[in-house]
């Protein structure tokens, strides 16, 4: 059985990759992911906006009330250095590279094109094998046309790809008017892989305190339907590799995504829920399925049920949605 694959030009022992999550915040977690069989690790995302806020907050707290009252001209000792991000993040890349053999993919969310490039270069310098650009933004300005949002995202990808020597993946949101066109444009902008899809924090309402509290909902196996569709549609139509993320909870989920055309399948929620060692279970299930269905390699499976290879290509298209509903209605007990 050959599980090996490549992703972003990097050889991987398995298509099961750890996606950006708190599991990779510490070196120990990264080591455990490798031990559990992860083909590669995408580090947790470095959010430049958060760094900026943290630095500003630190500066605020260290200077507030100082140089004002004669007895207390300051309130904290002044340490010589801080290990705040990005320093801590870059250090983690270095430590991870020194400690594990699997590829380390750094994940970045920047603010302006210039800042994206700067941080990306620092990550590469720290040793990252590849970068994942996490295009994580929720445009809320009603006066901002979608075309501008798209142009901005493409500019970032172009700028980073031009600036760094390592392969670059782009993690997308599904909320574009024409996903396939955007995928193609990102491809053209230099992305070596498209990671489908980003999952946003969703606001919730706390009914006890009547407050809005954003939180992250872990994915469920049902979540994979969205990447499944788009990977199947895009497979063979864009040059970039396609990575699936969101909804891989069992070996069979990985099988489905690979059949749809995923180069790798990424996991976070299932590992957060069941522990890192659960990765072994998923791999075992994947192998069992391949064994039972007489697949010899991941490469053999990839894209076997993509839209271009699927017996019924329309199954992935909109019309099918209508049909499915009709079918459902018909079958429903009266």
């Amino acid at each position: 059985m050959n599980l090996s694959t490549t992703y972003l030009g990097l050889p991987l022992r398995s298509p099961l990759v750890a996606s950006a999550s708190p599991l990779s915040e510490k070196l120990a977690g990264i080591k455990r992911l490798e031990d559990a069989g992860a083909g590669a690790v995408v580090l947790y995302s470095l959010f430049e906006e958060q760094i900026r806020l943290e630095q500003t907050a630190l500066e605020f707290h260290l200077t507030r009330g100082t140089e004002s009252y004669a007895e207390a001209l300051s309130y904290f000792p002044s340490p010589r250095e801080y290990h705040a991000d990005p320093v801590g993040y870059l250090k983690l890349i270095q430590e991870a590279k020194a400690s594990v053999d699997i590829p380390i993919i750094a994940s970045l969310n920047g603010t302006t094109p210039g800042r994206w490039v700067k941080f990306a270069a620092q990550m590469v310098e720290a040793g990252a094998d590849a970068l994942e650009l996490n295009l994580y933004a929720i445009p809320t300005d009603p006066d901002l046309p979608g075309s501008e949002v798209e142009a901005r995202d493409l500019e970032i990808v172009r700028a980073v790809c031009a600036a760094v020597q390592v392969p670059v993946a782009v993690k997308l949101s599904p909320f574009f008017s024409n996903m396939a066109n955007m995928a193609k444009q990102f491809d053209g902008a230099g992305a070596r892989a498209l990671v489908l899809f980003n999952r946003f924090y969703q606001p919730d309402i706390d009914l006890e305190h009547l407050e809005v509290r954003p939180n992250v909902l872990l994915s469920t196996p049902q979540s994979l339907r969205l990447p499944l569709r788009w990977i199947a549609i895009l497979f063979g139509r864009v040059r970039a590799e396609l990575a699936a993320t969101g909804g891989v909870h069992h070996g069979t989920d990985a099988v489905k995504l690979l059949l749809a055309g995923a180069q790798v399948t990424m996991m976070a929620s299932a590992l957060l829920k069941n522990g890192i060692d659960y990765l072994r279970v998923v791999e075992r299930e994947l192998v069992e399925w391949m064994d039972q269905n007489e697949y010899e390699s991941v490469a053999q499976m990839r894209g076997a049920l993509s839209q271009i290879n699927c017996p019924d290509p329309t199954a992935f298209e909109r019309a099918q949605y209508m049909k499915a509903l009709t079918y459902y209605r018909t079958e429903a007990p009266l």
Binding site: L62, R64, A70, A72, F76, P79
Partner: protein, 1185 residues
């Protein structure tokens, strides 16, 4: 060969600490202003592994008090370590017992002292020589330095001399004036230190140490037969000491080129008049002497460097033979003496060793107490006095003494400032970063150009919204001018609100520059200036520059920090450096300063530099005054005369002009004076929406400044209310039919917003709108000022009608602690305010030194006030270390007086109404009604006693008031309770006396800037715990509970306000010692003060702060009640809310991980223990016996 030295701009404390750190192995310290920084720097350097001269980092230990530090120093010295300490003032006094021992045992050591005033009629943190003079009989040598450079140099000279002479030294320099002055100095190198410090002498020091390999005993008890002789054995060492110091000074001069003498004369060789002086004042005299001699006078100064051992022969020999009159200036006061110490020494020396014919006349004078300015004008007055046939002796200079006529007149206009020195004064607000920016400016000039620079900063007495005044000098020659600038080429006003309150242009020189930060555009700003400001600009032909720095700061991502912007303005227009060079230097300095804090901070600052230059404008000054705006008086004209004429002068920064007669003779000041100082600090204030309010009282409960008040009133009382005065029908049945009102004092509010945060009442259809909402103060000022005045006139709610156990009603009680100078959003003051609401009309308060004594008792205005009957808290502060004992003394006195009064009453009973006597003796005063009734009875008694003609009646009359219940409250912070005052506190626990102790637990020494105490929790970063405190917080409550007879409660008002209230009521009711440990959020925690109650809640939810009450009065049941739930929030979630913990993750992530884990274990173990204790069967519970 003497090398060209490296120069650096630094303050006196750092100048000393750099040398002391290099030359010692053990440093035992305790924080005290103004010396704290020396210990803090040493600790930071040690934490970073910076080596001393011999390659290893000294061990720095923070002790529980200066007494403890001295003990540790003594022990370390006896064990052979080179050891030092840094202290001042009361701290030095606490070291004195050990100092006798250290000197008596001829031990080489140096104590570095930032000399400071002692607490007498009042405390002062400022500089004079009272402390070192109090230590002059310990046997320590006393060595005085007078400038930052000298302080740096003498730190080495003193250490070298101590090793050679075997006599310990106090090296002292003037607190603030030298310790906090920034100046450009030549640094000593390690080679310089090695050249002066003899390794053989260190070996000798070690050889004298205690060692079991070579056992001996030291510290015997000696009997009358030999003590005296043994005391005299040291004489040869003292006799040799001056020679030793002189040798060291010679060696130092050879090494560095800087020559000093023990008694250094400077001036005309044929001077007839000489001033003898030590410390920074000597620098002022030095320059004035040069000025006067250049103008044809013949005067001189004798600078005393070595004051003990006092070498009379050398002293006398140092004076020119021509001298006819000598003035000896002491920076201290010894009441009742024949003269101040150095004066007496000088007289003795001249009598014993003077070879003059005729003998010069010697007079003594006092100057500069508590950092009172000592200027060339005053020096001239002293020299002028010496020209008199009968010069005034025992004079004072620098004040106007209209009581004892001691003071010399002087001409304030006399100035000797060099025209080559650029002088600049900056008026800033504490929070705006002005001082920090100016410190940077000095460094830029000092370290990027051959020029010299000096900076000195004057701070306000309030912790929030205070004014800072920066005095900066720049010039081609070294600057020795240890006095404030009175003639400035450049004046900057960084806060437009100062414009109509302070005369900032008084110091501006003609043709100078005035820089104003203003929200008004350049073409409109002239109209906004008050008349006197316009007049000064025109009369002095000042150039006026303006910038809207707040806007530039906002646009550059700097928040409210205008520091960089104003600094750029200064460099752009002052001409102190070529503009381009200055801007480049600023940018380089900003990158250097902020690099480690992150790129975002650097970027914002650099953007601010560029934006500033684009928004700085020169205003074309009209040729005539058009404004009709006048100065705003510091207090209203209706204020009482003392407030208006005395405190008002202090508020207006003219306290220096007050004569001696204006001030109380014994430190007694009237209560309730903050009400007259309207500080108008808030940009936004809370505004009440009566339709949404649920009348819970929480807003008033949490308000740190007592600016939000509640009353209920009858309709009749509301007649004449201003239009817009809001009321709502009172919801509580007890007040049915009355109008309920909440009112904010717009001019006293600090705008912290904590009331809005706590407000639980929200508009159902728009949940971001509450019953309280912040609105711009400016738009509310007029209406709310009228409302507030009317509110104050409404009658107070009858205390007998208020259900005090319910916050919604209890908060109608009048606070008798209001508008303090505490930080905006302070976490301590709500507790104090609560005490004064509940018990203020019968409270005597002992307050430990610390934040609470500063915002409670720092002049000019003080917050403890009185009610409409004239009753209120009687407050006093003794010291830091003795507060529990101080309070116990009050209790004992009251108990004795009560016994005495009852006894007298019993004896007088036949002459009195029997019902009255019985009523008084058997009064039940457990509630307001009972106390009210007793007050009426005592009033009747006093009326009757006044008519009686008996000794007993005359004795009882002044005592009768003690028959009304009086509470003693002992209040202080954790530094006092856990550390320096713990011994006394423990004794008070054991005393069984009825005192109520409140520990305002901020978990650090807040007042001196956040040093670790034993209350600091594990993993918190504090000064002296830069790597996170490794040990767990001391459980003070558990210690108190172990007596079984102490009421103990742990409270956090933001987590459970009703529990807080209940604890205060129970503590007061308990007839014995009670202790309340009160979680007090603090600016030193690094939190958002406006939402600090969330931190209370998280502290409790995480189990970090368990709420409980332990009431020994519980009859037959377990006295311990837990008032909080088992930990339900991961501790890390709480720790991450506060910079004091979060900072550790950023600086030492591995350490943070380990300590956070330990801290989480602490939480579990602590909860398990308390749960066990609270659930133990007790008395007859569960059948236990």
């Amino acid at each position: 060969m003497i090398r060209e030295p490296e120069y650096m701009t630094l303050d006196g404390n750092e100048a000393v600490a750099r040398v002391a750190y290099k030359l010692n192995e053990v440093i035992a310290i305790y924080p005290i202003t103004p010396s704290s920084l020396m210990g803090e720097l040493a600790d930071e350097w040690a934490a970073a592994g910076k080596p001393n001269l011999w390659g290893s980092a000294p061990l720095v230990v923070e002790m529980q008090s200066e007494g403890g530090a001295a003990g540790a120093v003594h022990g370390a010295l006896q064990t052979g370590a080179l050891t030092t300490t840094f202290t001042a003032s009361q701290g030095l006094l606490l070291m004195i017992p050990n100092m006798y021992k250290i000197a008596g045992e001829l031990t080489s050591a140096v104590f570095h002292v930032a000399a400071r005033a002692l607490a007498a009629q009042g405390l002062s943190i400022f500089g004079d020589h009272s402390d070192v003079m109090a230590a002059r009989s310990t046997g320590f040598a006393l060595m005085a330095s007078g400038s930052v450079q000298e302080a740096h140099d003498f730190a080495l000279i003193a250490q070298a001399a101590a090793l050679r002479a075997r006599i310990p030294f106090i090296h002292f320099f003037d607190g603030f004036r030298t310790s906090h002055e920034i100046n450009k100095i030549a640094l000593l190198t390690d080679d310089d230190l090695r050249a002066l410090i003899d390794d053989d002498l260190i070996a000798d020091h070690r050889a004298r140490a205690l060692s079991p390999e070579n056992p001996f005993i030291r510290g015997t008890a000696q009997n009358p037969d030999v003590y005296f002789q043994a005391r005299e054995t040291v004489n040869p060492f003292y006799a040799a000491c001056p020679e030793v110091v002189e040798q060291v000074m010679r060696q130092f001069a050879a090494q560095t080129g800087r020559a000093y003498q023990l008694y250094e004369y400077h001036g005309a060789p044929d001077a007839e008049r000489v001033i003898v002086i030590m410390g920074s004042g000597a620098e002022t005299v030095h320059d004035t002497v040069d000025h006067l001699n250049a103008n044809g006078e013949r005067v001189g100064v004798l600078k005393v460097r070595l004051y003990r051992p006092f070498d009379g022969a050398r002293f006398a020999a140092a004076l020119p033979k021509s001298v006819r009159a000598v003035a000896v200036l002491d920076r201290c006061k010894e009441p009742g003496s024949a003269g101040e110490p150095m004066y007496l020494d000088a007289v003795t020396a001249l009598v014993e060793f003077g070879q003059f014919d005729p003998m010069p006349r010697v007079v003594g004078g006092r100057y500069g107490l508590a950092s009172k300015e000592f200027t060339p004008a005053m020096v001239k007055a002293v020299f002028d006095n010496l020209t008199q046939a009968q010069p005034k002796n025992h004079f004072t200079v620098g004040i106007h003494d209209d009581v004892s006529a001691t003071s010399l007149d002087y001409d304030p206009a006399f100035s000797i400032e060099s025209p080559d020195t650029v002088r600049a004064i900056f008026y800033g607000l504490g929070a705006d970063g002005t001082v920090g920016a100016n410190k940077n400016a000095i460094k830029i000039i000092g370290e990027n150009t051959p020029n010299y620079a000096q900076g000195y900063f004057v701070y306000d007495s309030k912790k929030s919204g205070s004014m800072t005044v920066s005095h900066l000098r720049f010039g081609a020659q070294p600057i020795r001018a240890p006095y404030l600038i009175t003639a400035a080429n450049f004046v900057a006003c960084h806060q437009p609100t100062f414009l109509n309150r302070f005369d900032m242009l008084k110091e501006a020189l003609p043709n100078g520059i005035f820089l104003l930060n203003t929200p008004h555009p350049p073409d409109k700003v002239w109209e906004t200036l008050p008349r006197p400001v316009q007049a000064a600009i025109i009369d002095k032909k000042l150039r006026l520059f303006v910038i809207n720095a707040i806007q530039v700061a906002k646009d550059s991502g700097m928040g409210g920090h205008i520091n960089t912007i104003m600094q750029v303005c200064f460099f752009a227009i002052s001409g102190v450096l070529p503009r381009d060079q200055a801007i480049a230097a600023i940018k380089a300095a900003l990158e250097k300063t902020y690099a480690r804090k992150g790129e975002a901070v650097v970027a914002a600052n650099l953007a601010a530099v560029d934006n500033t230059l684009a928004h700085l404008h020169e205003v074309s000054v009209p040729d005539r005054v058009t404004s009709t705006l006048e100065w705003i008086p510091p207090v209203p004209a209706s204020a009482p005369p003392f407030v208006r004429d005395v405190l008002g002068m202090m508020i207006a920064r003219r306290g220096d002009d007050l004569p001696v007669s204006a001030l109380p003779v014994d430190g007694t000041y009237p209560s309730g004076t903050t009400q007259y100082e309207k500080r108008n600090l808030a940009q936004e204030i809370p505004v009440w929406d009566e339709n949404i309010c649920i009348q819970c009282g929480k807003c008033a409960f949490v308000c740190p400044h007592a600016v939000i008040r509640i009353k209920v009133a009858d309709a009749a009382a509301l007649e004449g209310a201003p239009a817009g005065f809001k009321t709502a029908p009172a919801r509580d049945t007890e007040f049915k039919g009355m109008a309920y009102t909440i009112q904010v004092s717009p001019e006293d509010c600090t705008g912290c917003g904590i009331c809005v945060d706590v407000c639980p009442a929200k508009n159902k259809s728009a949940l971001n709108y509450k019953a309280l909402n912040m609105r711009p103060q400016a738009e509310r000022l007029e209406q709310d000022r009228a409302n507030w005045d009317f509110f104050l006139k409404l009658p107070e709610v009858d205390r007998r009608r208020i259900k005090v156990s319910s916050i919604r009603q209890q908060q109608m009680q009048q606070p008798l602690f209001e508008f303090s100078g505490a930080c905006a959003g302070c976490g301590e003051t709500p507790y104090i305010k609560l005490i004064t609401q509940l018990f203020g009309d019968r409270a005597v308060i002992a307050n430990a030194t610390g934040c609470s004594s500063i915002y409670g008792g720092n002049l000019p205005t003080t917050p403890y006030t009185y009610n409409h009957e004239g009753r209120g808290p009687a407050w006093s502060n003794s010291l830091f270390e003795d507060n529990a004992e101080f309070g116990l003394g009050m209790r004992i006195a009251l108990d004795q007086q009560i016994d005495q009064a009852r006894e007298l009453l019993g004896r007088l009973a036949p002459a009195l109404d029997p019902e009255l006597v019985t009523g008084i003796l058997n009064a039940d005063q457990h509630d307001e009604a009972g106390i009210y009734a007793q007050r009426e009875r005592v009033a009747a008694l006093k009326a009757r006693l006044a008519q009686l003609e008996s000794d007993d009646a005359r004795r009882l009359l002044p005592l009768a008031d003690v028959l009304i219940k009086r509470d003693v409250w002992i209040i202080g912070g954790d530094g006092w309770a856990y550390d320096i005052g713990f011994g006394g506190l423990d004794h008070v626990f054991a005393s069984g006396r009825n005192v109520n102790i409140v520990v305002l637990d901020t978990e650090v020494y807040s007042n001196t800037g956040g040093q670790m105490s034993k209350s600091t929790p594990r993993a918190a970063v504090a000064k002296f715990a830069a790597g996170g405190k490794p040990a767990a917080k001391k459980d003070l409550g558990m210690i108190a509970m172990s007596y079984g007879s102490v009421y103990v409660a742990r409270v956090a008002f933001g987590a459970k306000d009703e529990q807080t209230l209940r604890a205060f009521l129970e503590a007061e009711a308990y007839d014995g010692p009670s202790l309340i440990i009160a979680y007090s959020h603090c600016i030193a925690h690094g939190i958002n003060m406006g939402t600090a109650l969330k931190n209370h809640k998280a502290a409790v939810d995480s189990g970090q702060w368990i709420l409980y009450r332990y009431n020994p009065a519980a009859q037959g049941t377990n006295p311990l009640t837990l008032d909080s739930h088992p930990p339900k929030l991961p501790l890390k979630d709480y720790l991450n809310m506060e910079n004091r913990f979060k900072m550790l993750e950023l600086t030492q992530p591995e350490n943070a991980a380990a300590l956070f884990e330990e801290a989480q274990k602490d939480v579990q173990a602590r909860w398990a223990l308390y749960e066990y204790l609270a659930s133990r069967p007790y008395g007859h519970e569960n059948g236990a016996s």
